[in-house]
Symmetry: C2
Subunit: 225 residues, 2 copies
DNA sequence: CTTATTGCTGACCTAAAAGACAAGTTGTTG
DNA sequence: CAACAACTTGTCTTTTAGGTCAGCAATAAG
């Protein structure tokens, strides 16, 4: 799973002899990554200093640099962690016997859950894309596009079979992504508008229902085959 | 229109004697603002140096500072310019005799056009909200929320009158905003996925059609009253 | 137990970036 | 056209941030 970027990932694949040190290393690395994620999400890449990340992770700056020799590497690792999760959880494969509606419902639900569970990773990703994807562009071309093309084809086949209405498949995906990811990225705006300090369980429940419902209606999906 | 933030806007309301200097000043100010907008959109607040903004605007850094004595002020002005445009163009008022569908169609179209015409402003706004809206939070509370509440009420009245289906009004708006703004903020991702260098006239046409259609279907709006 | 490896820290160094200041230039106005 | 205001630039200071390096501390391996 270390295929994402050229040569500049830290490769840690040496038999893993779980000594006291290696355990500590793992724990500390993930603490650093979580801290970095929070800061990158909130302040962006340039706005997050190594010093600040170190403080958040409760270590010294030099120690941080010991684990991640430079900031760009750290940033790429944070992005990578997020993408790994997304790839793992988001396949749009047509399960045997599933109706389009079922596939879509599952897809929307999983995207919503990612927004709910990894809001910071999502924000880091958003900053990156808005900024023109300087780091991720290659990845989008090599990994996301093929999957996208495949998924679009699938929806087209649904249309041809008359299982769903004649909608625009590409823009359907853009809308689904936007509508789901917004619950991570723009949560502050929603909190203000809903008059809450935090979006809670219930809000996400409603959101998931609403968005799923919108999408299903848009598809005009026929329930029985 | 200078009510947005406390006291730190530059107030320029002195009778405007259109001399050679004042014309030049206006021209230069807007050139600076456009340059700043581009950089803030791409690099975020911290990633954009005054030096770089000056270079982009083709003036010296010292001259930039003469016009905008500090970076934060410049940033706020960029945000303000964007918000002024949005407020001006986005009212969800029920025009006499208009059906819900017509109102919604107009609303979506206008939001799409904002994404198309002011992608950079939109990106700056997105960065700001994702970052927790440190500058804009007050504004969201005082200006956006009241308008939002009003618009939600309107949709509820539509529902009560049976003009549209029983959808979730709050989340309807969240979805519309997300689905339209994504064409500004995530344009790079779409370019990659559609295999284009730039989203063109035609893409936006299709996008507008798709999103409008999507929303109208979600509403289940009845065409005749 | 002692040697090698890994983890951690403090003292630097360098570059960039915000912006203060003073001095010069250009345009405006009585 | 003289005096004043608006504009522009070069120089300097301070702060911050990324990162190096040498050495000390803790742990693992023989």
């Amino acid at each position: 799973m270390y295929f994402l970027f050229k040569a500049d990932w830290i490769l840690v694949e040496k038999k893993a002899k779980r000594t006291k040190q290696s355990i500590n290393r793992e724990e500390l690395e993930s603490r650093i990554l979580r801290s970095a994620e929070v800061l990158f999400a909130e302040k962006g890449y340039s706005g997050s200093s190594m010093e600040a990340i170190a403080v958040t992770a409760n270590i010294s700056k030099q120690n941080l640099i010991y684990y991640f020799p430079n900031k760009e590497l750290l940033y790429k690792r944070v992005l990578k962690e997020m993408l790994d999760i997304w790839i793992e959880k988001l396949s749009f494969l047509e399960t045997q016997g599933d109706t389009p509606e079922a596939v879509i419902r599952r897809y929307v639900r999983e995207k919503m859950q990612l927004s709910r569970m990894y809001p910071n990773g999502s924000k880091v990703f958003a900053h990156e894309i808005i900024s023109g994807a300087p780091v991720l562009k290659e990845y989008l071309i090599s990994h996301l596009k093929p999957q996208f093309d495949r998924d679009v084809m699938l929806v087209k086949s649904w249309i041809n079979k008359g299982l769903v209405d004649d909608i625009d498949p590409e823009h359907l995906f853009f809308t689904i992504w936007a509508a789901t990811q917004t619950y991570a990225d723009f949560s502050v705006q929603m909190e203000v508008l809903l008059g809450k300090h935090r979006l809670d369980e219930d809000d996400f429940e409603r959101a998931e229902l609403a968005v799923t419902d919108f999408v299903v209606r848009a598809l005009g999906a026929k329930k029985n085959n």
